[in-house]
Every structure is written in C-alpha cells, then in structure tokens.
C-alpha cells in the first residue's frame, strides 16, 4: 500500500466529512524480540503492525480517533467518530496544525543490515552474551539475555498541505544477572541499543559491565543519617535531571504547574549545568527529521549555565504562548494526540574526570542508582531511594544500599559544584558524573 497517498487521501476525506482542518498520522512497525535463559531460547516474539490516528478540527474544536483496521469502511467510520468527538470539546483558538514544510536532515536513522542478519545469528548473540556474563565467578544466576530489533515508518499529512514520512530502525542487546553471597542477592545488567548493528558494543564489554554491576553492591554497609556530599553517577543522574525537563514543558509552565514557571532567563541552578535537547544528532536514538506533528527538529539549549533559556512546545501550546513550535511534539504512537517531549537530552560535560571528583571528596556518597519519581516538576521536591558507594578520604570505601536522599530542586541543583567529563552520547538521555556539595541522606 502507498501510505503517502493514503494519508493524503484521508485528509481530503476528513474535509469532505465536515472537518475544517485535519491531520492523519500513520505508523507501521515491525519488531523482533529474542529472550534467552540459561543457554536456551526462552521467548521469541515477532510481529508487524500498523495503525492510523486522525486529528480533526471542527469550529475550533479538536477531536481524535484511531484504528488499526485499514479497510475503507472502518477508516471512514473512525474518521467520523473524530468529528463527532470534536463536537464534545471546547473551542480553542490554539487548535491549529503546522504549516511548516521543513524537514531536518538527520543522518543514520536506518540500518539496512539489521533485518538481513539471520535469526540464528541473533539468537547466538544473546546466548553468547549470557554465557560470557555467567563465566564471571561473582555471578551465580542469569535472569536472561536478549536481542531486540524494531523498525518503524511514520507518515504525516495535514490539511495545510504537509505530507512527510521517515523510516527508522535500531537494535539492542542486553543481559541481566544475579550475584549472590550467602543470603545476599544483587541484580545487575547492561544493555546497549544502537541505530546500527555494527555500532553495538562488543559482547565481552557488555558482559563485564553487567557482572560488575551485579557484583559491586555485595557486602554493603549501612551509613548513619547525615548531610554529606553526593556524587551522582551517569546511571543515576537521569533521575535528578528528568524533573527539570518536565518542568520546562511549555504547557505546564502556562498552567502554573512547574517549579520553573517564572524562571525564563533566570538562574535556578549551578552555572555548571547546561542542558541541550538535540533532535538532529546523527544515529541518535531520539533523533528524527521532524516531530510528532511534522515540525522539523532542532538542536536547542534549554538551560545555559544554570539559566533557563527555552521551554519546549508543540504547535498548539506554542500558539497559546505566542511563540513558534520548538519541534517537540511527542507522539507515543498512532493512537494518541501529540504531547510535548524531548529528543536526545544531554548535559554539557565539565572538565573533571570521575576519578578526580571522587578523589576530591573527603567523605560522601556516590550514588549509582536512584529509585522513585525524581524531582517533582510541580513543586521541585525530591526524595528517592539510593544505592552506591561510601567514599572516605577520596577513596571508595564500601557499597551502600537502602538509603534515601532528599531535598528540593533549588537546594540540590544550586549545590552542583563539580561536573564530570564522562558524557556518553550514545544514549538519548546522557548526563556526566556530577557532584552535589551537600544533600540529606537517610540511613540508620
């Protein structure tokens, strides 16, 4: 089926049925997931599927419907339901569709090699990775290894004459294991996902990281409740940074539901904190030529040296705010309306190696995992569970599990006094190691 033609046809159909404006978002996908356990195949899942979402505007009112049945009758009925549902909503002058015809050129979003690799080879990779990880004497059990791949194609057309599409794919390989000692158990794992098959990290490297991850926290010691410096490892850093991203959501800001609502061009964090959203990075896992409603993606500085430089918007919220869309309409799929989200977020690296940061910390906690919801975007409160290592006289002393860390965004983000240089741009959310000068730690 020619989906470009179909989406354009469906836009016309929507107008014929009474919509004043219409957008058709069609998505097709194919995925493969291989799970192995203890040297055997555990699960193989494979499927291809497709669906379409209709957004219509009628008298300033917006309605949405979706279906995954491509028969003409079914699509027409679903389209009619979008128009019916629009009538239920409140008219809003901000209900507009983009007329931006641009497409950002992004390299490396599709690897033709992935799908041509035989199934057996993919199964073998997962089996080999599990075997290598289990060879580590510290590791007692496997919770499984996996290989996954996914391919998707997106088609967007709207009544402003937009008609665009792009295709992406990617693959991943990972393992998760258990380290045991007496009654103690600790899980760990490592996983790598890339746009290109040949860019996947070597299996022995993944195996080593997974084993280290599981074994590292064996024989933890409890620490007393206290205030102390906290070094945040890249694996844990997302928990503190994600709340900032949510608070930069332009709609939350307009609703007053963000702790950064009055912070545009004002300092709210340490000058060491610069955050960038880059939808254009070659081979980026979060990259795309345009966002969920067809607006070209950009590379934008959101926070510069602790100062808010940009909120993030889709077309509707941008109009309400009196600005242009920043290319941040996020779509979780064909079955939902565009929300607001980011592409590849990273924090600008600093000049310290992680070793230097540890060495310059007399006593403190290095956290490698934070559990919980992170910083609350509404009021900036933060409280989470943490595990990692206790540092004494600039050296790692012993593992720590089962403690809490807490504070407010204001206290924590302004207290960042060291920023690491260890940024891994292969992830769609990457933060280097950083240190918070002082935080409340809840222990014994």
């Amino acid at each position: 089926m020619n989906y470009t033609e179909l989406t354009n046809k469906l836009v016309s159909k929507a107008l014929d049925l009474g919509a004043d404006a219409a957008e058709v978002f069609l998505e097709t996908g194919r995925n493969l997931s291989i799970q192995v356990l203890n040297g055997e195949i555990d699960t193989i899942e494979e499927a291809a599927s497709a669906g379409v979402g209709f957004r219509v505007i009628v008298d300033g009112k917006s309605g949405f419907s979706h279906c995954n049945d491509f028969s003409e009758k079914s699509m027409e009925e679903t389209l009619k339901m979008a128009i019916e549902f629009a009538k239920l909503t409140t008219p809003d002058e901000n209900n507009v569709l983009t007329d931006n015809e641009g497409i950002t050129e992004v390299e490396g979003l599709f690897d033709p090699e992935i799908s041509s690799i035989p199934m057996e080879q993919k199964i073998d990779m997962a089996l080999k990775l599990e075997k290598m990880t289990l060879e580590d004497p510290r590791i007692s059990k496997s919770s499984g290894a996996s290989f996954g791949e996914a391919e998707g194609e997106v088609f967007i057309a709207n009544s402003n004459g937009i008609s665009k599409s792009y295709k992406t794919n990617g693959c991943s390989v990972g393992v998760s294991v258990v380290a045991e000692k007496g009654e103690q158990k600790n899980t760990g794992g490592e996983y790598c996902s890339r746009r290109f098959f040949k860019d996947l990290t070597a299996l022995d490297e993944i195996a080593k990281k997974a084993a280290d991850d599981a074994a590292a926290l064996i024989d933890p010691q409890m620490i007393p409740t206290q205030k102390a410096p906290v070094i945040v490892h890249p694996d844990a850093a997302g928990s503190l940074i994600r709340g900032i991203i949510s608070a930069l959501n332009g709609e939350r800001v307009l609703q007053g539901a963000s702790f950064l609502k009055d912070s545009m061009d004002k300092s709210f964090a340490s000058p060491l904190l610069t955050i960038v959203d880059d939808g254009t990075r070659a081979k980026g896992m979060g990259s795309a030529p345009f966002d969920g409603e067809g607006v070209p993606t950009q590379k934008r500085v959101l926070v510069e040296k602790g100062v808010v430089k940009g909120f993030i918007y889709n077309t509707k919220v941008a109009k309400r705010a009196g600005v242009s869309s920043t290319g941040n309409a996020s779509r979780r799929g064909f079955d939902g309306l565009p929300g607001i989200g980011t592409h590849n977020i990273y924090v600008e690296p600093g000049d310290k190696t992680p070793e230097e940061i540890i060495a310059s910390t007399k006593n403190g906690l290095m956290v490698t995992q934070i559990t919980g919801y992170g910083i609350n975007a509404v009021n900036g409160n933060f409280s989470g569970g943490a595990s990692g290592f206790w540092i004494e006289n600039g050296k790692i002393k012993h593992p720590v599990k089962g403690v809490t860390i807490a504070g407010t965004a204001d206290e924590i983000l302004n207290a960042i006094d060291m920023m690491g240089n260890d940024l891994d741009l292969n992830k769609s959310f990457s933060v280097p190691t950083f240190r918070v000068k002082e935080m409340m730690i809840g222990g014994a």
Partner: protein
C-alpha cells in the same frame, strides 16, 4: 537489565517508557509496543466472535503445533475506547479508538514463540501461527484437543451498558467533577478530569480444547487538582475505576471524587520537610495496599520463581511474615478494577491466598510457570493486549482484614509517619527491594496525626516489611491502579490500616 516492576495510580506512559531500559524498541515504534492505553470494541463484537469461525481457530492451533510443541493458544481481541479530558475548565480532548488483533503462542518445553497480527484474516492468523511455531522446531508435538465452548463464572455485572450512554452524559460527569473541584477552595487553581471507558472483547482458544468468548466494560475516572497559595504548590489526585457500566457514578458521585482530590491539595499546602531515617509508619486503609502489591505481590508472581531467582524462591510453606499478616490476590471480587472473570489464557479467576498468618501458601501462576513449577494454574495469566504474551500478573491484591481498631493503631504509635496516600512505586522482584513515594503523609506525635509532610520516599525490602507489620486493622478498603511489568495491567490494591515498625523514610531534614 533487570527491570523493576512498577505501579502507579494513573497512566504514566512517558514515565514507563523512560524507565524501561529496553527503551530502544519503544523509541522506534511507540504505539505498537506500548499501547498502554489500548482502545476498544463494540461493532465488531456484535458479529459472533468477530465473525470468526471456530473451525478456523482449530486450524490455527493445528498450524501452530505443526513443527512441535506442548501447548498452543490463539487470542483475539477487540477494544473500543472513549476518553474525554477536561483541563483548565475546558474540554480539551475527545479521543475515540478501535483496536483489534490476534496473537498466537506456542509453548515447547521452556520455550515460548509468539506472533501477532492486527488483521484478523485466515491468511494472517496462519502466518502468525507459523512464525510462533519457530521455537518448537525439532521437538515432540501434541495433538490438539477439539475446541469446545467452555463455561466460566463471571463476576462482572452491568446495569447501565456503556453503549447506551450518550456522550453528553459522560460530559456531564466530567463537568460536575470539575465544578466541584474548582469551587472547593480558592487555593485550587486548576483541575484536570480524565474520563476513560472501554469495552474489551476477547476470544481465547487453545490446544487443550478451551474456547471462550466474553466482553467486559472498564471505566476509569481521574480527578487531579492543583493548589497554589503563592508559597507552595501541590498536585493531588483521586481515582475511581470499576469493571462495570455507567452505574459506577450512582455509587460514587463525580463530586465525591473531586472533593477528595481538592481536600488533599489544600491540606498539603502546609506540608513541611519530612524527617529522614528509620521510623514507624502507619498506613491508612485503601490504596496503601499497593506497597505490598509491589513489595510482596510481584516477588510472588511465579515467573521469577520458576527461573529460580525470585525473592521468595524455595520459601513455600515457610514463615515469611508476622502472624497478623495474610495476603490475598482475588480476581473474582464483583466489578472491581482488577477483576478478570478468567485470565487471558482462559483459567478461571479465583481467590488465591498467598500468605496466611505469616506462612507462604501460594504463588500466582500462568500456564507456563504452573507447568514449570508443577503447580496449579491460579488464573493470573494476563496480557495488556493481543500484542503481548501472557505473564503472571496480579488482579485485586490486598492485605486481609485483621482485628485491630484503626484508631487504636494510631494512638498506640508514639512517633512516626502516618501515610494517607501513596503515588506509586517499584520493586526489584529478585532482591525484593522496593521504593514508594508518599503523596499525602503526616507526622505522628504522641499517638496523633499532626503536621503534613512533603512527599517522602519509603524504601525497604519485602521480607523485612512483612515481618515488621505488627498491627492490622479491621477496615479493609481498595484503590485502583495501573501495574507495569513490561506491559500494563489494571489492578486494585487494598489493605486495612496497618502499622509497619521501622521503615526507611527519605526526608530532607534530620
């Protein structure tokens, strides 16, 4: 990576996506892999069984077992959903969705093959069967039993069918909730009301001869309010959800839901920093049961047990909790959000006692884990949609009622934290380490609930927490939520008022 299992009280799609370290697949084809909010049926179900001939299902099962295998099933699903969202006193979105498809599964020894299609045609179903059969190559095969209409009890009654409800009635409920929230107190600056309903039809047929078909409604009504007094802000939430018709609102009015949300938003404006460290916690009856859902329920799902890695592996029949602690999973509570009639593999839902007076009595199984462990099927094999494989999941999970008067539990606790509601949390099912975030909590001073404190995290390990529960009230109640374990499932969590001696609280002051 070992994924932590999570639970939340409202759909958290983006949160789930980000929290899954397997995020790649999701980054490329979000909806196809995580239609957390699948959508649902009506028209297609009116033809008997999606217009599918049972003879075809038989053919699909035979095809699935052609290369070998012990068990095969085919699952067909059709959902029609409606969602209407009001925010800032405007009807912001109206969403309607139809989703249908089928999945074919083959089990051969410990191996599972799965494939799905969203086109329910003979060609596509047979193709899915062939793809799923790949794992069973070179293994012994089973001859499928002829499928026959199978009887199962139903625990879902409908007085006012959703298909008879005009959208104007849905709109009215939303408007009423919004008005009640906004007029509650001038510090309430914003309300958001999210109305969702769906009808999910399913057909299940398997190589053991089971052939089942049903259609069930689900309603989910969420009110959030934001208070702001210029100094502090709090976003509160209240939910109502049932597998029932529109009569849900006859029993609980939209105003009641809104007022509860607004009350919390106002109360929490005065919240102070919470203390940090170990303290006694009294947890109010209701949704607080989500703590044991996570901390104890997930580790009792049999998939990790059968892999030999679960936190409760090898502890059957042993004392694992205090004497006052009894925990149950029951998919047969009339019209509850977690009620399923029978699971997505066709096993009848039932009341399963997991821990009785502190002794471990049962795991929650699906077809595969029951076979691996040599145990009975408990009716816990659930799936998010036809795009997912069934796995052991909870339904309505709760700490059973005890004997203490809730007022006595509080008054006999000298110092600690009174947790009135939790947002949600997560657990590592292997180690049993969990974390929870309080949404509404108060200090306990001299046996009394005093000042509200800011959302603190509670952390601990499952075996510690159930050994440290020393008082269980007689006021069992439930709350609705969404459980995430790679796929999402609608659940209820419940408990009477309980006291946990010594839990680590993540406060920001000493």
């Amino acid at each position: 990576m070992m994924k932590n299992y999570s639970v939340s009280d409202i759909p958290r799609r983006d949160f789930l996506k980000m929290s899954m370290k397997g995020g790649l697949l999701i980054a490329t084809t979000p909806a196809l892999l995580t239609s957390l909010n699948g959508c649902s049926p009506e028209a297609a179900m009116q033809q008997s069984g999606f217009g599918i001939d049972p003879v075809l299902l038989k053919k699909v099962i035979a095809k699935a077992l052609e290369k070998g295998g012990d068990f095969a099933d085919v699952y067909l699903e059709n959902r029609v959903s409606r969602q209407i969202v009001m925010e800032e006193s405007k009807f912001k979105n109206g969403l309607y969705g139809i989703s249908q498809g089928a999945g074919v599964r083959v089990i051969s020894g410990n191996k599972t093959g799965y494939a799905y299609t969203d086109e329910i045609t003979e060609e596509k179903l047979l193709r899915a069967a062939e793809v799923a059969s790949y794992v069973a190559r070179n293994s012994a095969t089973t001859t499928p039993v002829d499928i026959n209409k199978t009887d199962r009890k139903s625990f879902i009654t409908v007085e006012r069918p959703l298909e008879d409800i005009a959208d104007s009635q849905r709109i009215e409920m939303i408007q009423r909730a919004n008005d009640a929230a906004m007029s509650y107190n001038p510090v309430i600056k914003m309300a958001s009301v999210d109305y969702y309903d769906e009808i999910r039809g399913r057909i299940i047929a398997n190589s053991e001869g089971v052939y089942l078909q049903d259609e069930n409604p689900l309603m989910f009504f969420i009110v959030q309010t934001m208070s702001d007094n210029g100094k502090a802000r709090h976003m509160s939430r209240e939910r109502l959800s049932k597998h029932s018709g529109f009569e849900m609102f006859d029993k609980f009015t939209p105003e009641q839901v809104a007022e509860r949300a607004a009350r919390e938003a106002v109360a929490m404006l005065d919240a102070e920093a919470a203390p940090a460290g170990m303290m006694d916690v009294v947890m109010m009856n209701g949704w607080g049961g989500v703590l044991v859902h996570e901390a104890v329920g997930h580790p009792l799902e049999a998939d990790n047990i059968s892999k030999g890695i679960g936190a409760f592996t090898g502890k059957m029949g042993q004392k694992v909790a205090s004497d006052v602690f009894t925990m149950v999973d029951d998919g047969s509570i009339p019209n509850a959000r977690g009620t399923i009639n029978y699971d997505d593999e066709g096993t009848q839902a039932q009341r399963n006692v997991l821990i009785e007076d502190g002794i471990l009595k049962g795991y929650m199984t699906d077809v595969l884990s029951a076979k691996q462990l040599g145990m009975e099927r408990t009716g816990n094999g659930r799936r998010e949609s036809f795009r997912n494989i069934p796995i052991p999941r909870m339904t309505n999970t709760f700490i059973d009622s005890g004997e203490s008067d809730p007022a006595d539990i509080l008054s006999s606790t000298k110092k600690g934290l009174y947790v009135q509601s939790l947002s949600g949390g997560s657990v590592n099912p292997v180690t049993g380490v969990f974390n929870f975030t309080c949404r509404e909590a108060y200090l306990i001073e001299n046996g009394k609930k005093t000042k509200p404190v800011k959302g603190a995290t509670l952390i601990g390990s499952c075996l510690d927490v159930i050994s440290n529960i020393d008082a269980v009230g007689n006021d069992l109640d439930f709350g609705p939520g969404i459980c995430g374990k790679g796929q999402s499932a609608e659940v209820d969590a419940g408990q009477p008022t309980v006291r946990i001696r010594g839990i680590n609280v993540g406060g920001s002051r000493s």
